[in-house]
């Protein structure tokens, strides 16, 4: 991996996907690896060490997102973004279990949602403690409300860590 420092403004477009997400860059150095298309964040201290290392790096502390054809935000973003209270779907106890098993969400698994969701949006899925379980794609809008069928498609969930 060859990590280069980039101007955070280059990723301003991320705000059109998750409003305000680039606020999470604040106080951090934004790093990008052209080959894997991965974006990482580093503190100034970590970046200072990184810039002195003469050995290729495999990974660094905060994985932010992968910006291939579609953007894939990492768990760090889910966790921090859930605190914003935006684009959020809260699941029930059973919803939590299902979602952590890669499942999509239907009405019975959803207990509430924020009022800013449009169809096709990326949403943060949390449990009742506002713990971020991952990301989903909304198949409903807050305005219309939730009805039948799949309402949130699972994109990423922390069940990923079961096998590790």
């Amino acid at each position: 991996m060859v990590l280069k420092q980039v101007n955070p403004r280059e990723f301003k477009w991320m705000d059109s996907i998750l409003p305000g997400v680039t606020k999470l860059f604040s106080g951090k150095v934004v790093l990008y690896d052209d080959e894997s298309k991965k974006v990482f964040l580093a503190s100034k201290g970590v970046y200072n060490v990184l810039s002195k290392l003469h050995i290729p790096v495999e990974w660094i502390g905060v994985f932010f997102a992968e910006v291939g054809e579609e953007i894939k935000f990492g768990f760090y973003v889910a966790e921090k973004y859930s605190k914003f209270g935006k684009k959020r779907v809260v699941v029930t106890k059973f919803g939590e279990e299902k979602f952590l098993y890669r499942r999509n969400l239907t009405k019975k698994y959803i207990s509430s949602f924020s009022n800013d969701i449009s169809k096709g949006d990326i949403v943060v899925v949390t449990n009742k403690f506002n713990e971020a379980l991952g990301f989903g794609k909304a198949m409903f809008s807050s305005e219309e409300g939730i009805k039948e069928g799949t309402l949130v498609k699972n994109i990423l969930d922390r069940g990923f860590f079961v096998k590790h």
Binding site: S43, G45, P56, G61, N127, L133, F161, V162, H164
Partner: protein, 307 residues
């Protein structure tokens, strides 16, 4: 149950543990007690405990820390709970929580973890540093890096740089470190309770082979440390060849000075004579965990300063 072990191994253990030999063998035949290290960068200890207790897990504090708990009852694999998935704790052998506590890195330190995967200790160091400072975590085995990365992400460790390299060859790395953890590759003969298959695999020659690797890693650590920098060396082996002899080499050949352990009162002292030979008296400052003391793996650690 003794018949499961090669004779040379039983002889070694008798020699090393004397009247405690039977206790060691008995401990190797039991299921070892696991521990959880609560990730205080993400969750309060009481909150994590009450959530797990509500699910039927029974936890009791280890004597040397207030955020590490023996797992006494596990109604369902604890690594399937949402609390685990959130990175609220790491599941590990209780003894392997000792080296990071002993190294005790501060928030401004530049720390090297020379044998890092799967990251039990890297993420512990990160927690002790409150995600500040910098840790360079190295492992030579590419296949083991995924588990390291995943644990870093699950636990939310933010100050880690991962390198895939042989820690014997880091001369050109470009920085020097305040603190180094060398949780060395070893025969792992202290983990027979958890890995019974090792009983068949262990060979006499293993000890000399690992010692050679360990000595070159310790030498590399010496070169990478700043003056006054601290090295904590640990293994999950019972063998003095991989433990006291390596420390003796570090002191006598490299010029390290051995320091007393602050967690010393919870564990046994290093051996100063073994296999009929007297060794340096200073080795008593090393620490050993016998497997029957806390029903853990056998463990060894030493703290050294580059003077």
């Amino acid at each position: 149950m003794r018949s499961n072990y090669p004779n040379f191994f039983l002889e070694r253990l008798k020699n090393l543990f004397g009247s405690n030999f039977n206790k060691v063998i008995a401990a190797y035949s039991r299921k070892p007690t696991k521990a959880i290290r609560i990730n205080t960068t993400k969750v309060g200890v009481n909150r994590c405990l009450s959530r797990l207790r509500a699910k039927g897990y029974v936890l009791s504090k280890v004597p040397w820390s207030n955020y590490i708990f023996f797992l006494m009852r596990e109604p369902k694999p604890i690594s399937t709970t949402v609390e685990y998935l959130m990175g609220y704790f790491y599941v590990l052998d209780p003894a392997s929580t000792l080296p990071p506590i002993e190294l005790s890195p501060s928030q401004n330190d530049l720390v090297l973890d020379m044998a890092a995967s799967p990251g039990g200790k890297t993420t512990h160091l990160s927690q002790l540093m409150n995600n500040k400072g910098t840790i360079v975590a190295v492992d030579s085995n590419k296949e083991r890096l995924d588990s390291l990365k995943n644990n870093i992400e699950r636990m939310g460790a933010q100050n880690v740089i991962v390198l895939n390299a042989d820690s014997r060859n880091l001369q050109k790395i470009g920085v020097q470190f305040d603190k180094i953890l060398l949780d060395a590759p070893c025969s792992s003969d202290g983990t027979m309770a958890k890995n019974p298959e090792l009983r068949k695999k262990i060979k006499k020659e293993d000890y000399a082979r690992f010692q050679k690797l360990q000595k070159s890693l310790v030498k590399s650590a010496y070169n990478l440390l700043k003056k006054g920098g601290i090295l904590v060396y640990s293994t999950c082996s019972t063998a003095p060849e991989e433990n006291e002899e390596v420390v003796e080499f570090a002191v006598n050949e490299l010029g390290f000075k051995l320091l007393p352990l602050k967690i010393g009162k919870y564990i046994d002292k290093g051996m100063v004579s073994f296999f009929g030979q007297k060794h340096s008296q200073f080795l008593s400052k090393c620490g050993r965990v016998v497997p029957f003391k806390y029903n853990t793996q056998a463990f060894f650690l030493a703290k050294l300063v580059k003077v």
